[in-house]
């Protein structure tokens, strides 16, 4: 339990630091913020209005504290364009990004697991080397190019799936899932490599252990040894990496959501940047970053929960 408290405190401190930095980023950078928001066509009167609405005429510490107070109570300001509250807009878009996250990571796992397991079981065979080679090359393909490749192959050439067009979950589940296939695939086709490598490496180590020999000595068939005895001890690093990938996903989501026109947080951020919607940009950056920190902390805790050795040692004596 002590560990839990410690990590939560640390997480909170990082969030505080991050929020302060996010705030400072705008306010201490060169260039008058009001001009940035106003753009090149703004008149002096516009600039003045912007300045007033953003509260730029006040002391920075005061501004930060005001902002912090507001943020803590859920008020992140209003969108300059739509005049809707920033927080509720972001929250409304959250499910889409989450769905993309879940679907893409599942796809990445589906690709990574078999190749990782087979790669460890038959390490350095032709198949293993081929897979490793393809994996290496895949990591040199940026996600936006992978997205275009999936569109070209599945949408244009094969005509299996539409390239864009999001259907919400409540409207039609089938169509909704369909609209996530290509985006998920674009992300998964790159992410699987890192997952596969980690799993393969851990499994090679595990397969050299005595208890695997013991499992074979019980007469268990290979697939059973691999899946029931070797997989679980080898998955710790995998799960940690999966957690870290999930954090990075937030960055990838921006690109993929934009290409496939999915109404998620990433696309919201981009659109807000194009539209120079100051509050929205700040709100997005803040929430995405906080989400990232929280996810990493949760992964950290999860790791502890999964390894029974750590779990029971911390708790009661044997």
């Amino acid at each position: 339990m002590q560990i839990l408290v410690q990590k939560t405190v640390r997480c909170a401190l990082v969030i505080l630091a991050v929020s302060a930095l996010t705030f400072l980023m705008i306010n201490l950078l060169p260039g008058d913020t009001a001009y940035i928001v106003g753009g090149e066509e703004a008149t002096p009167a516009d600039i003045e209005a912007i300045r007033k609405s953003l509260g730029l005429d006040q002391n920075i510490v005061v501004r930060y504290l005001t902002w912090l107070k507001n943020a803590a109570s859920g008020d992140l300001g209003e969108s300059y364009l739509t005049h809707e509250p920033v927080l509720s807009t972001i929250i409304a878009r959250l499910p889409v990004t989450l769905e993309l996250l879940i679907i893409s990571q599942c796809m990445a796992l589906i690709l990574a697991l078999p190749f990782g397991i087979v790669g460890a079981y038959r390490s350095n065979s032709m198949v293993d080397r081929l897979v490793n080679g393809i994996g290496f090359a895949t990591l040199s393909i940026p996600s936006f190019v992978m997205a275009l490749l999936t569109i070209y192959l599945f949408s244009i050439k094969l005509r299996w799936l539409p390239a864009t067009g999001y259907v919400s979950l409540s409207a039609n589940i089938g169509a909704n899932l369909k609209s996530f296939v290509l985006p998920g695939l674009s992300i998964a086709m790159i992410e699987w490599v890192v997952l596969m490598r980690v799993l393969r490496s851990d499994m090679i180590t595990t397969l050299g252990q005595d208890y695997i020999l013991m499992a074979k000595a019980k007469g268990l068939p290979p697939w059973r040894v691999l899946l029931q005895h070797a997989l679980r001890p080898s998955s710790f690093t995998l799960i940690t990496v999966l957690g870290i990938q999930i954090g990075r996903h937030l960055g990838e989501a921006v690109i993929v959501e934009t290409i496939f026109a999915l109404p998620g947080i990433g696309r919201l951020l981009i659109d807000s940047i194009y539209a120079r919607d100051y509050h929205m940009v700040q709100g997005c950056v803040l929430l995405i970053t906080i989400g990232y920190v929280i996810i990493n902390s949760v992964v950290d805790l999860l790791y502890t929960a999964l390894d029974p050795r750590i779990r029971t040692e911390g708790g009661h004596a044997g």
Partner: protein, 295 residues
């Protein structure tokens, strides 16, 4: 790739990658003298044409006056009739500038901080590590977008902000290597001869760390090229009309069904450049680590 027994010599893939990089750098440097059209010269008669199309009235960048001569669009043209060869070659200037200069910032600053942290330990190390953790707490692309929003997109800003993001990574690598080296005998020996800390640092530690960090830097270069590509693709990198590989890919997206070459050719060039840096970095890493104890 690390499991191969034969991966310890600099083989075929290494040299081919070097050749490609040299080619790209050469073309970036000498682009102004080539007999190609200007990168933003639009040929309305030849929009999105296939590679290999010949045109009669191209106007070259180095020729004044109205002389026209036949020219083959070896890589086709884009949606506005601009020669892809020319755009790729000029675009490589952007990709290479960002790709090579940004990591240098990270290497110098991050590498130095890492060495200091690993060598002096104590509160200095704790502070540096904490600062790096905070930078790493930000999802990279989001930070990048925020910076380009607030500061505006220019080559200089891009290089600095991307460079800034690589500082924690280099710091980590340098620190790990410094920690490993500090315990080794030749450092103890140097101390015994009365050498001061600074001298030890400069003479013994840094030369060894630099090799590791530089090799890692190649992988960072590959990543930077992809990152710049992503930003340009989103329209948040170098503003047009300056050609950039990412921007070219974005423009080709509109005609992906009829003329895939508009996107795919710059994508292929980017891929080959990125994988070359990755292969060089990977090969060098295996080469230098053979025989040394791997923990």
């Amino acid at each position: 790739m690390q499991d191969k027994d034969t991966g310890n010599r600099l083989g075929f893939t290494f040299w081919i990658s070097i050749v490609w990089i040299v080619l790209v750098v050469f073309s970036a440097l000498t682009a102004s003298w080539w007999t190609i059209p200007e990168p933003d010269k639009m040929d309305w008669d030849n929009l999105s044409v296939r590679p290999g199309t010949v045109t009669d009235n191209a106007i070259f960048q180095n020729k004044t006056g109205k002389e026209t001569s036949p020219y083959t669009y070896w890589l086709g043209t884009d949606t506005m009739g601009r020669d892809q060869v020319s755009r790729i070659v000029y675009g490589s200037r952007i990709s290479l500038s960002v790709g090579l200069l940004a990591p240098m910032i990270g290497l110098l600053i991050g590498g130095l901080l890492g060495c200091l942290a690993g060598f002096y330990r104590g509160p200095l190390e704790s502070t540096i590590v904490a600062a790096m953790d905070i930078i790493l707490a930000f999802p990279g692309l989001v930070l990048l977008l925020a910076v380009t929003f607030y500061l505006g997109a220019s080559l200089k800003n891009l290089i600095f902000s991307l460079g800034f993001l690589t500082i924690p990574v280099f710091c980590r690598v340098a620190r790990a290597k410094t920690l490993a080296l500090s315990g080794l005998e030749f450092v103890q020996a140097a101390r015994l001869t009365g050498a001061g800390n600074m001298a030890i640092m400069l003479r013994e530690i840094i030369p060894n760390v630099i090799v590791s960090v530089a090799i890692y830097g190649l992988l960072v270069v590959a990543f930077m090229i992809m990152a710049e590509g992503a930003l340009s693709f989103l329209g948040l990198g170098i503003p047009s009309p300056t050609p950039s590989w990412g921007g070219m890919i974005a423009e080709g997206k509109e005609v992906l069904d009829e003329s895939p070459h508009v996107s795919m050719i710059p994508a292929a060039i980017m891929f080959m450049t990125v994988i070359s840096f990755n292969l060089i970095g990977d090969s060098l890493r295996s080469y230098f680590e053979r025989g040394k104890h791997q923990i």
